[in-house]
Assembly symmetry: C2
C-alpha cells in the first residue's frame, strides 16, 4: 500500500500567502489532504509558526477519520510571492486585516497566478468588491480557526468561481457556504461580533467576568450550537406549533432591552412569513419529536466526548458521576458495572456493537480494580494492570437504553496475574455476554510487569479464594470451540 501511495501523482498545488495561524491552518488542511503547498511570508517567525500549526494538525485532523488521509504533500517556503503562486490551483491570502495591504497583495497575485486558479482571501470582514479594487480575481474564502479541523468556509464573490471553489473545498473535507450578498463580516463573524460586543458590555458593567461568560456559553447554548443553529433550535423550542408559535411568543421581546443591540428589524407579517417559510424549507421534513431525538443524540455524543477529556461540561458529568455508586452482589459475585447503554454504542445492525461489549468488560475491570484498591490513587502512584488477552462470547443482543449489569469472578489472582471473568446481564435478566480477560500488573514508569503492592494483592487473593469454587461455564474457551469440548481450565501458574 505504501508503494501505491508514493507513486500517486500529486498535481495539486496550493499557495499560502501570509503564514500566521490562519495561513498555517490552510497549509495544514491542504498538505494533509495530499496537496503540495508553497508558502510566501516574509515574516521571520513564519516557518516556526506554520511548523507548530502543522504539528497540531497532524495530531488532530487524521483522528476524526476512520481511514487514513492521503499521503501528505510537500511543503516549500518560497522567497517571492510569484514563486509561491505561479503553479498553484488555489492561492489563499491570509495577511493581516488591513485593506490597503490586502489590495496590494491581490494585485500582485493577479499578475502572477496562472489562468483558472482560485484566489481566496481569509478576510474576516472585507467584501470582494473592496479586495478587488486593483484586480478582479479574488473571492472571499473565510475559514475558522483551527482551519485544519473546522469545516466551515464562507465563500463570497463571483458565483462561478465560488462554485468551483466549493468543489475543491469539499475534496479537502471542508463545508463551503456561499453567501448570497456581500456584506461586512459575511455571516458568522456578524454573529460573533454581536456576541463579542455584548460580552464587552457585560464585563465592563461588572455583570460577569470573562470566565463567567465563557461558562455561560460552553455549559449551555454552545453545546447546542455544535450541532444545530439558532433557527432549528428555536423551531424545537416552539414545540409542535413550530416556528410561527416561537416567533409569536418571543417577537414582542425584540423591543425589550435584552441586549445592547436595540436596532431591530420591524417584526411584521412579512418577516414572520419569510422566517417561518425558510424554517419549513430547512426542517419541516422532520417532526419536532424527530428533531428533539437528533438533538439529544448529538448532545449525548458531544457530552460523552467531553467527558472523556474531563473538559467543560464533561467535567461536570465526571464530578457528578463520582456520587453514583455501583455496589452490591449478584449470584454471590460483586457487581462491577451498572449502567444504561448509550445510543452511540449501537451500530448498523441495530444493536450494541461488538466492541462495546469489551468496553463494558473493560469498565467492569475498572470497577473491580476499584474494589481491590487498584484505583485512581494507586494508578497515580505509577502502578496499574495491563490486559494481555481477552475473550468475548456474544450471547444475546443489547439495545440502546437497556440497563447493563456486570459481575466479576476472579479465576486467578496471584503473583502478577489477574484473570477475570465478567458476566454481562441485560435489565430483563438475560445474560448478554461473557468477557474473560487476563491482566498483568505493570509498573507504569518502567512499562514492565511487577508484583502488585500488598494492599492490592491481599484483597485480590481473598476474592480469588472466595470465587474458586464458583461455576465457570463458558470460561477458557477458544474461538469456535464446540461446547464442552475440553475441561475448563484456569490460567496455568
Amino acid at each position: 500500500m505504501d508503494d501505491a501511495m508514493t507513486e500517486r501523482t500529486k498535481t495539486n498545488v496550493a499557495a499560502i500567502v501570509g503564514g500566521g495561524v490562519i495561513g498555517g491552518g490552510w497549509a495544514a488542511r491542504f498538505l494533509l489532504n495530499g496537496w503540495d503547498v508553497r508558502v510566501f511570508d516574509p515574516a521571520p517567525e513564519s516557518r516556526r509558526q506554520i511548523g507548530e500549526v502543522l504539528a497540531n494538525a497532524r495530531r488532530a485532523l487524521p483522528a476524526i477519520y476512520d481511514r487514513a488521509l492521503p499521503e501528505e504533500g510537500t511543503l516549500v517556503f518560497c522567497e517571492t510571492l510569484e514563486e509561491a503562486v505561479r503553479d498553484a490551483q488555489w492561492v489563499q491570502e491570509s495577511v493581516p486585516e488591513r485593506l490597503p495591504l490586502k489590495q496590494v497583495i491581490h494585485a500582485a497575485i493577479a499578475n502572477a497566478v496562472k489562468p483558472g486558479a482560485i484566489v481566496g482571501s481569509s478576510t474576516s470582514g472585507f467584501k470582494p468588491s473592496e479586495l478587488n479594487e486593483r484586480s478582479t480575481k479574488a473571492i472571499v474564502a473565510h475559514p475558522f480557526n483551527p482551519v485544519y479541523l473546522l469545516p466551515l468556509v464562507e465563500l463570497v464573490g463571483d458565483k462561478v468561481t465560488c462554485e468551483r471553489a466549493a468543489g475543491i473545498l469539499r475534496s479537502i473535507g471542508m463545508h463551503p457556504l456561499t453567501v448570497a450578498k456581500e456584506i461586512d463580516a459575511h455571516i458568522a463573524d456578524r454573529l460573533l461580533e454581536a456576541i463579542w460586543r455584548e460580552s464587552l458590555w457585560l464585563v465592563k458593567d461588572g455583570v460577569a467576568t470573562t470566565q463567567d461568560i465563557d461558562e455561560a456559553i460552553r455549559m449551555g447554548f454552545g453545546l447546542r450550537f455544535a450541532q444545530m443553529g439558532i433557527f432549528e433550535t428555536y423551531r424545537i423550542a416552539g414545540g409542535e406549533a413550530g416556528m410561527k408559535h416561537f416567533l409569536a411568543q418571543f417577537g414582542p421581546a425584540l423591543k425589550w432591552p435584552w441586549t445592547r443591540l436595540m436596532d431591530v428589524p420591524e417584526f411584521d407579517d412579512t418577516l414572520v412569513d419569510l422566517i417561518s417559510g425558510q424554517s419549513d424549507a430547512q426542517s419541516s421534513r422532520y417532526s419536532i419529536r424527530e428533531l428533539e431525538r437528533q438533538r439529544d443524540d448529538n448532545l449525548v455524543g458531544i457530552l460523552r466526548a467531553l467527558r472523556i477529556n474531563k473538559a467543560a461540561a464533561g467535567k461536570v458529568i465526571a464530578e457528578h458521576e463520582k456520587s453514583l455508586v455501583v455496589e452490591g452482589e449478584r449470584d454471590e459475585l460483586p457487581v462491577t458495572l451498572y449502567r444504561q447503554v448509550p445510543p452511540s454504542w449501537t451500530d448498523y445492525n441495530g444493536h450494541m456493537n461488538e466492541a462495546f461489549y469489551l468496553e463494558a468488560g473493560s469498565k467492569a475491570t475498572d470497577g473491580f480494580m476499584d474494589l481491590i484498591g487498584a484505583d485512581e490513587a494507586y494508578i497515580a502512584r505509577g502502578m496499574s494492570y495491563f490486559t494481555v488477552e481477552s475473550h468475548v462470547r456474544y450471547l444475546d443482543e443489547v439495545h440502546a437504553g437497556d440497563m447493563l449489569t456486570a459481575t466479576t469472578q476472579v479465576l486467578k489472582g496471584e503473583g502478577k496475574k489477574m484473570h477475570l471473568y465478567h458476566r454481562l446481564f441485560r435489565g430483563d435478566g438475560a445474560m448478554a455476554a461473557t468477557v474473560e480477560t487476563l491482566l498483568v500488573h505493570t509498573d507504569l514508569n518502567a512499562r514492565k510487569t511487577c508484583l502488585p503492592a500488598p494492599e492490592v494483592a491481599e484483597p485480590l487473593a481473598a476474592y480469588a479464594a472466595a470465587h474458586e469454587n464458583h461455576e465457570k461455564s463458558g470460561a477458557g474457551r477458544f474461538v469456535g470451540e464446540p461446547n464442552k469440548s475440553r475441561e475448563v481450565t484456569s490460567t496455568p501458574a
Copy 2:
C-alpha cells in the same frame, strides 16, 4: 442491588409549577436523579407534554454516564399549587414569560412553601427584584433547553439562597453560574438575543436564509463554543502574545459596521486591562500551546461523536471519508483497515485502551465485509454478519497518533460461518495485536441466522481457499493458554 435501591429513603421533593418544555425538563432532571416530583399546571396538555419530555430524558440523560443514575423518583400531578409546593425543598416556576402572571404565582408560592425551601424561576429575562415585587423568596434559576441534558443554570438573587441552590443543582448534575448583578436576560440570553437580532437582519436583508445561518453556526464557531467560550477562544487566536495582542488587533474593528450592534463600550486601557486581567486569571495556568491541544482534543471528540450520528459537521466528515480508500495487501493478506489512532482511544494507562483494539478489529471486519460485497447496500437489503465470539491478544502498546494497519485472514468461510483473524500493525511495523473473531450470517429482520447470498458467499470462499495455507500462529488460543500448548485448530464444521 435492586433491593438496596428500593429501600433507599427518598426525602427530596421538587415542585414544578408550569409544566411545558422547560418545566417538563426540570421535572425529568429531578426525577432521574431520584427526587420525587409534584407538578402543578392547569393546562390540559401538560400531562402529555411532561410525559413526552420525560420519555426523551430517560433515553438521553442516563446515556451520558458510565454508571446508573439513582432509582427514578415518583411523579405526581397535583390539583392545586399549594398541594404541589407544600413539602418541596425546591419549587421551580416555569410559567409563560409575562411578569404580572409570574408575580401572582410567586406570591402564591411564598404563601404555601415551607420555610427554607428554594424557590427558583426559569425566567429568561426578568430580574429577581421584578419577580419579588409581591414576595421575597424567589431567585432566578434559569436553565437551558433541554434541561435534562444541558448543565447550565444561571442563578440570580439573594446570595445565600443562590449558594444553597448551587449545592442542590450540583447534586443533580447541573452547573450553577451565579450572576454578579441582576440585569435583563442575565448572561447567556443576552448573547443569544444579540445573535438572534443580528440573524433577523441577515434574513430580512436577503444576505442569508435561516439554513445558511444555522450552517454558519454549527459548521464553525458552534463547534468551538461547545467546549470553550469566546474569551478563551480569542485568547488562543491572539497566539503567544495572548489576550492583549488579540485586543490590540481587533479593538479598532469595534468601530466598524461588522454587526448592527453599534453601541459599543469605550475601548480604553481600563477595559483592556480588565479583560486581559480576567482572562489571565481564567486561563494563564495553561500556555497557548496547551490550550490549543485541549481545544483540538475536544473538537476531535465532538467531531467523532457527530460523525457516528452523521449529523452536522459529522456528515461532512462521513462524506469526505468515502473518498479515502483502504486497499492493498500486506504479507499476502488484504489490508482491511488503515488509520491513525485518535486521542480518545487512549486511557489512564497512557496507551490505547483494550476496548479499542477490538474496535479496530471490528472496523477491519467491516473493511473485509466491504471486500466480499457484504457492504452498506447488502446490509440495507436486510442481511449482515453478527459476531458470536472474539479473542484479542494484546502484543504491544499503541499510542495516540500511531498509524494502525490491519490485515484479515479468513480461517473459515463457508455456510453461515465467517471466522476471521485480524493482525494489527503499528506504523513502525510491530504487530500490536491479533483479533480473532467468529461471525454468523444473519437475517436482520427475522434476527435469525441464514446463508449468505451467493454474491457474498463466493468471494468469501475464494478468500478462505487462498488463505488456507497461510500461517495461523496465535489463532485458536484460549485466555491464559501457554504458548504452543495445543495444535492450532480452526472452527469445527
